[in-house]
Symmetry: C2
Subunit: 285 residues, 2 copies
Amino acid sequence: MSIQSTIEAAASTLPPSLSRIAKAVRENPSVVIDKTINELADECRTSVASVVRFCRAIGFSGYAPLRMALATELGKEAAQFSARGAFGSEISDDDTLQEAVSKLASLELLAIEETVARLDFDVLEASIDMIDGAERILLYGIGASQFVAEDLAHKLLRVGRNAHVLADPHEAVAASVLQTAPTVAIGFSHAGSTIETLRFLETARAHGAGTIAVTSAKDSPLARAADHALFTEVRESSFRAGAMVSRIAQLTLVDCLFIGVAKRRFSETVDALQRTHDAMRALRD
Amino acid sequence: MSIQSTIEAAASTLPPSLSRIAKAVRENPSVVIDKTINELADECRTSVASVVRFCRAIGFSGYAPLRMALATELGKEAAQFSARGAFGSEISDDDTLQEAVSKLASLELLAIEETVARLDFDVLEASIDMIDGAERILLYGIGASQFVAEDLAHKLLRVGRNAHVLADPHEAVAASVLQTAPTVAIGFSHAGSTIETLRFLETARAHGAGTIAVTSAKDSPLARAADHALFTEVRESSFRAGAMVSRIAQLTLVDCLFIGVAKRRFSETVDALQRTHDAMRALRD
DNA sequence: AGACTCAACGAAAAGAATTTACACCGGACC
DNA sequence: GGTCCGGTGTAAATTCTTTTCGTTGAGTCT
């Protein structure tokens, strides 16, 4: 547990004098680093002895150890802050190439991080079950999402699953109607409102297929139309960066699905990957 | 500049006694945090006065400030380390789904970060120049790299550039031979040894096209065959995660290229994106 | 060679900061 | 009313840090 939250937790049980110190530290943790124990005591209108008591109360042996620990923790926070880099800022014409690239990278990093952080593992697990139990896996996406669908299909094919990317709306609907075996349909749409993808999932569902949506919009028609919905977390202020950041997040979800499916049949999968890998190498040499 | 590198830089000009301190600190920076100035002096078989001199020599006013600064810096490093999570560890059968997903996400985050960090902006700029000046942009990749090529082609098409993904080796070679206008050929290959992609770039180059390679292998035939080579930085111990992490890194480079090209003609690009966006929406409604 | 200079160094004094010891206050409980 | 006890500050003791100053030894000039 972090020092800050430890202080927070202890604050209520602290006597007045120590409580004042806690308040000062919570409001501005860097005072501990900048000021000596005497200065801090003065600032809180109390004695140095009480500051030492405060240190003990929150689990440190004295002022120096608290100082070090807090310095380390502040460093961590600073790192996390700076790692987020140029934040929320739109990529603009004025940016140098370096700036633009670093802004974009920040957005992509953030997208992966948040997508994974907010991933609902129950939904993921259920989706993986569905894919694992299916004889036929139908994938559909339009525009940038099409490549994502193709990417997943390619991965699944390489581990011996029957995955098909449907090229156009007609084929998509046709295939989703003709279901001879347990089928799962996966629709990709960033905005979640692409009409073709929505129809595809609806049709597939109407004919008994399991349905999975991959989108960024939690309250979208696509998400509602699917049995399970997996969400990307993308911060974008306009469509400009969207096609870049959103597909990275979608691919991250694809990887999560793939890993899950692969894990179900670990040795088979590894074996299959090895064989396709070897086969491709053989072609090459 | 970081403290550690400051010490590194100063180390050579330091007298023996201070140099011992520098060595101790470099080897294990946390000694400064854990030990008092006396203990550190003893450990380095020197006097406390010399430790103070050392602090001054590297730009601090005394031991305490160095301590705080170093604690903060170590905190940052720790944060970076922990943020990267389960590191270098292979995704294995024993992992829970959560563990596997978090390992994968770590690898992907790291890939984007390092790819951008080690990106050679001169090469990027030159590549962008080449694409910007070309009338025809030919792209080629096989397997997972194919989707990357398609992704870039799609983006370039949407801003009005003539980008073509070549479907097979024959078409690739044929197209690269028939060059009526300034042409640039971009080849994608993670390992950098895919023979078809190599032939494609070689043929295109032989017929006067500019060539760009996107690969992870710095010392690969593909990198050598191209005018400009952009490198992905991917840490992977086996092919298992490779197809996932490497394509994320490749897409990051694709985005860098696209941003660069888009910036050259900012208003046109934004306009084009807006119009294609509107057109697609019109189709939908 | 001898005297000088000067950087390097440590011992120890001086100065701060931190910790401990102790005494005081005020309320709760016999 | 007396006693106990948590909460508190003062001041002494301790520990840590900084400064001062003298010693050493290597290099240099006479």
